[in-house]
Amino acid sequence: MSQQPTTKRDFVADHVRTIPRSGIRDFFDIVQSMDNVVSLGIGEPGFVTPWHIREAAIFALEKGKTGYTSNFGLLKLRRSISRYVAENFRVEYDPNSEILVTVGVSEALDIALRAVINPGDEILYHEPCYVSYQPSVTLAHGIPRAIRTRAENNFALCAEDVAAAVTPRTKALMLNFPTNPTGATMTREELEKLARVCVENDLLVLSDEIYSELTFSGKHHSIAALPGMRERTIFLHGFSKAFAMTGFRIGYACAPAGLIEGMLRVHQYSMLCASIIAQEAAIEALDHGRADMEMMREQYRLRRNFIVKSFNEMGLKCHLPVGSFYSFPAIRSTGLTSREFSVQLLEQERVACVPGNAFGPGGEGHVRASFCSTMSDIEKAVERIGRFVQKRNR
């Protein structure tokens, strides 16, 4: 039932009202209305958080750890983060002034953007990308500028394209490798080229490294570790993907003290601090979680091999993603758009894959099929998708 307007004004701000609805949200509503759906649409691990991490959270509750923490987060956690980042990413951050614990990478991204954007500043990001980037920039009064990445390149970002997109108003470049939804990664050489463009144009970099542990071959490199980059990079990371801790809502930002101080101004008046229970669990994850994390990664590797091979066998061209837990097969050969493919697949075979254009116009012609679901779901889904594609081809 539509409501009668009782106020003269629309109270919702213009810059909020004009934000488009998330393509994922739309699709989610359709999926929710159906039964027996096998989902390759999830953006989170199919594993429950390893028991020892859950147990640490329970123990924190038992010990009565139920209060606020420092705005920065528990010092013990910041120390663990400092050690973990130094060991795995080869960049050092001072736990006292250069690390901020946040409510997921989501909050870290939001406050980083709010802390650095003057209204009208342009923020570059590569696309297809995580659905939040563009709206987060808009909400922070910045101007989002997408740079297309291409399937021929396995969706890596070309430094030349970045250089070409820079204007006098460009403030920052957002990076996410391995990428959601394409699984793209960057070699050290590619990152070095990118770093040169950033230094030449005095750009800040926001590097979202949330999938970095889920790199299947070669070594993950963070741009923060390259010469001249530490001072111009906000390194964003969290626990959701690698440690299967999405529901804990915990992440962190590392950056030079001035930038962290700026982010803290926003954080201390909005979020105050991340949940202490999640912080305690995060300490356990960093200090003792490696074996479980590696076990999960190895499972994802097998699932990735399986799903990518299956897509290619059924005629949906799919590159082997080097990182993340997403495959991004091309569906153009079916003659359908991404949305048509996803909706018809859902209606006819009850399999959910996210239409590629939910991640930006550059994702058209693809769907995102996660391989973080359980192996038995993936097997079921692949069988059904195969049948769907075959029917289309007849």
Binding site: S22, F27, N180, L302, F306, A352, M375
Partner: protein, 159 residues
Amino acid sequence: MDPLLQLLEEHALRTPADLAKMLNLPCAEVERRIKQYEDDKVILGYKAVINDDKVDTDLVKAVIEVKIQPEREGGFDRIAKRIAKFDEVTSLFLMSGGYDLLIFVEGHSLRQVAQFVAEKLATLEGVTSTATHFMLKTYKEQGVLMEGGEEFERLKVSP
């Protein structure tokens, strides 16, 4: 350990074709290796893990701690191997600590298990004592939780 063995240990019913896709190997190679493992008795068999609570069974399970007198030649082996041959015995281990052998037994009734202990096991030459513990409820079997219990329904689509 060969990832193929790990996969089979987890779930033995996967087809060689699926295993090959997961391991990025030719299917024929996977079939060859499985055959080889079977021939070499690396893979000894394939079994289902059954939740006894959900099937109509009168199985009675017990573990028995056994002390034995080791022999001059053969140590514990001869007698352990002899015990292992009984149909009632499902698993048998040589242990460090307060007793020597740990035996898992199954029978169709309490009486059958008690009889096995009293008549077959305790009377064996070299067995000096036995302590039998009957199992009351199974919570986890061979790495599998009897009640999933952790089925939390995730959102079907998330960013």
